[in-house]
Subunit: 524 residues, 2 copies
């Protein structure tokens, strides 16, 4: 590393740590974050956050961390989460935000696969990170009081000036987020500084956000969507308000008290807000952008939301860890061909969106194929998985693994996960379509449709349903209901009743688990 | 080049040609440009512009152009200018937008220095590109009817599909703009795809532009500022309205007729609009953002403008070819320490701005030094000038060559070009400060202040002034006027009257020419 190469890198690079340094220069004393926790409300300015992250880089170096080492982070939405994250970005350590809601074996798998050297976590999560197999972990730091080294001790006495002694390349891996593993072993998704930096500029253009907008983050920041929104807010010099968990009344209070302009929630969370008996007593006049994701929202719910939050527009955002969110958006009041469909909308400004057939040919509107994207939001690669990394980039496009088509208004309609399509008697059945019909059936509150091996149909359409408390479950009635609304080959051959579903930490139903559980359903 | 490398590049790269392809996908039939010329009003959609540029790539290849070759472009603001520019971006040809208002010797210098292989120009500019020394030019294409190959012929019959057979790296040079040479031989500034792409995302965030804003471009598109605004408008999928020259009444008509939301003009142009007798008859209610650059505007003019354009906010934008515009902005209604100063404002979201002393130390607010920037908007290098490219990046910062300081509100104040500072009797005199006093003197309409060698003071402060038509010029009176308003060492020792000033094609006064012209003023 010559001095000239270092100087050139400092000038021209795209590195996530630099965005915090820039805001620390031009909006130094503005509140960067407000964090609510059991200890109350705490705040940090851009200058303070920047200085703390610089101190943490030096503290971590003193403990033996060098550029390229991995650091796992287990923390709820908090100022500390971002101080450590930016320390990683600045020091060139690879941040591994860990989903602490996962099964402990999955956590160990993440830590082992990423060859983690340092673990920084809230005391309650510390036991989840201990296993005889995790021999590479040599540094353990506790967020908050604990017997060992604490985050405060790590920072104490360290120089708070900016880090200017390492070279960071645009496409160096900034962090790794492990996929939730709905269908296979979790994969580590390597995201570059460049991808997240580009998302932090294209997302505000997509949503019409300006400098200094205030954002409430309730979805966990270890998830790519929440992370992307948070970093965008810091890029804009906005106020990021953090809540460690969703509790409808508390969210309503914070939306009002912090004069929040935008927040992203799951559809069920928006619906829980709507169900608050005292909703009308709150002043939500500042809220202008409501984002929702992970699932579609029926048109009726959208209408209710718009009546309750009068100044607010509601957009569905989509993406995946492999393609830094958000790659596409279904905007409020979009022109569409169909009244109610699983719309994903139009691509972000810096993304191409196309439907490809198996041979890599682009398909015209109306024809169903795999949803593919191109653009700088794409991941670097899957960690230590050359084959999967290559396969996902066939034909010069990033393959999402999702099936869909583009309607005559140019809007993308999602059909199903490619792996969740059921091949029954030579016909393709979209599990999502069958699920929507089942959800509209009386007493059904939650559903998952999946294929089960069958001697005659190759796969048989099956459903697991959760019935409303106190209501009876009658398989024949529900099958009859479906027959009136679906093609014969789409009607479930069997419907089973379940109390709960196997879900990933982000709330996605694990169909692979259900498939294994019921794989012998049609055995003689 | 392996197939995999090509596929990966197509997916993840940042390349300017891709932005046109993306808009051609998602806003295909929207008007991309409206061009006014002596032939009337013509328009092009995003799809048409994209297809034309693809055809031009193939036409140019057929003529022998390969990736890395240089193409000079001499054209007024027009659809053809951008069709050729994007053909270069897509084909990996290096575009050289030539300032056709330069002296013909400078044009030859540009063409020779950039080793130009193809020239595409309007017929009237063709003679400017012919010289015995320009032996590398093997392809000549005419925009409009001419004896040789025309642009229409170049495109005719070519495949209009997107170009997908070459690798373009983020930091490949996209175009070279030659500096205007106020103080030295013009330098070729190499700008990367990445820099201009980043500017196209950060500029709209700076100005609060949304998708589909309409922009009027009157400033010549061979200039970095105008080019940057135009490419941003295309990135946003907006309507770009092009005028080949500034004529106040015509600009007012187009602003109204095209419902323009934003335009960038020189301060003298805004003032010419204000002077229109029938200004109040126009409906400018759509105009919300007025940009001005190259020179400050007195507070009184800004007030007049805001009264005349009621819905419009006026921002001063700054930058330089070496740091893709806009690196900083002085926003309307900014809080400032001084009422009227040469404010350049705050840096763009993706730029650090600092004042450095000669040793590279950052200076605190109030202290004067060199204005320095960091960030991905920085140029790649000066063409074939390793020493100058290295010198401008000393101490890990891009050096602008401008002097200034940051006020107590965090706003950058421009003091003078470093090279225009006059060292007189051991004191530093800012030519800009003296010019502002002279401009306020009765009858003075234009002024340039410069240093001339002097036996006693080393340099003597001198001024060239242009006097309003019909008014007398009295050197002693003006010197007296200055004495009442400036420190003794700042008062010009001599003031000369001139009819016109030597200017660059973008309207900057060439002080180096004046200095040479008057270098013997104090000789005995």
């Amino acid at each position: 590393m010559t001095p000239l190469a270092l100087e050139t890198n400092l000038i021209e690079r795209i590195a996530l740590g630099d965005l915090l340094r820039r805001r620390s220069r031009d909006t130094a004393n503005k509140t960067a974050m407000v964090s609510y926790s059991e200890h109350g409300r705490s705040t940090v300015t851009y200058k303070e956050l920047n200085q703390l992250s610089n101190q943490l880089v030096r503290g971590l170096r003193e403990q033996g961390m060098v550029q390229g080492d991995s650091l796992a982070l287990l923390a709820t939405n908090s100022i500390e989460f971002f101080a450590v994250l930016f320390a990683c970005y600045k020091g060139g350590f690879i941040a591994i935000p860990i989903n602490f809601l996962q099964a402990v074996t999955d956590i160990h798998y993440n830590l082992s696969k990423a060859n983690v050297k340092a673990v920084v976590c809230e005391p309650r999560f510390a036991p989840l990170t201990v296993d005889d197999s995790l021999t590479n972990i040599s540094i353990r730091v506790s967020i908050g009081d604990s017997e060992g080294l604490t985050l405060a001790q790590l920072a104490a006495g360290q120089d708070s000036h900016d880090i200017d002694d390492i070279i960071i390349h645009d496409r160096d891996t900034a962090h790794i987020i492990f996929s939730s593993g709905t269908t296979s072993k979790p994969k580590g998704v390597e995201t570059s500084h460049l991808s997240m930096y580009m998302a932090s500029l294209s997302n505000p253009l997509s949503f019409g956000f300006n400098k200094y907008d205030s954002q409430l983050a309730v979805l966990p920041t270890f998830h790519c969507a929440s992370l992307s929104i948070c970093i965008m807010t810091l890029q804009l010099g906005g106020k990021l308000v953090l809540l460690p968990q969703f509790e409808p009344l508390n969210v309503a209070r914070v939306l009002e008290a912090e004069q929040i302009q935008s927040t992203a929630l799951l559809p069920v969370m928006w619906q829980a807000l709507l169900a608050l008996p005292n909703l009308k007593q709150f002043d939500f006049s500042q809220l202008t952008t409501g984002l929702y994701g992970m699932a579609p929202m029926p048109a009726s719910s959208r209408r209710q939301l718009k009546a309750a939050f009068k100044n607010c527009r509601f957009h569905l955002v989509s993406g995946q860890s492999e393609f830094t969110p958000f790659s596409c958006t279904f905007y409020d009041d979009s022109d569409t061909e169909f009244d109610d469909a699983n719309y994903w909308g139009v691509p972000s400004m810096i993304t191409d969106q196309a439907i490809l057939d198996e041979q890599g040919n682009e398909l015209p509107p109306g024809q169903q194929g795999e949803i593919c994207w191109r653009g700088p939001l794409v991941m670097n690669r899957y960690l230590d998985d050359v084959d999967a990394s290559r396969k996902i980039r066939e034909h010069g496009w990033h393959h999402t693994g999702d099936l869909g088509f583009i309607d005559n208004c140019g809007q993308l309609v999602f059909v199903d996960r490619k792996k969740d399509m059921i091949k029954s008697g030579g016909e393709n059945v979209a599990s999502v379509k069958v699920e929507q019909v089942l959800l509209s059936a009386p007493s059904v509150v939650q559903v998952a449709v999946f294929g089960v091996p069958h001697a005659r149909w190759s796969e048989a359409v099956c459903a697991a349903v959760q019935i409303a408390p106190g209501q009876p479950f009658n398989e024949a009635d529900i099958i009859q209901y479906c027959k009136a609304r679906l093609a014969g080959f789409e009607v479930p051959k069997r419907i089973v009743s379940v109390e709960t579903f196997p879900v990933t930490a982000t709330g996605k139903i694990q169909k692979s688990t259900l498939k294994s559980q019921y794989e012998a359903l049609f055995d003689e």
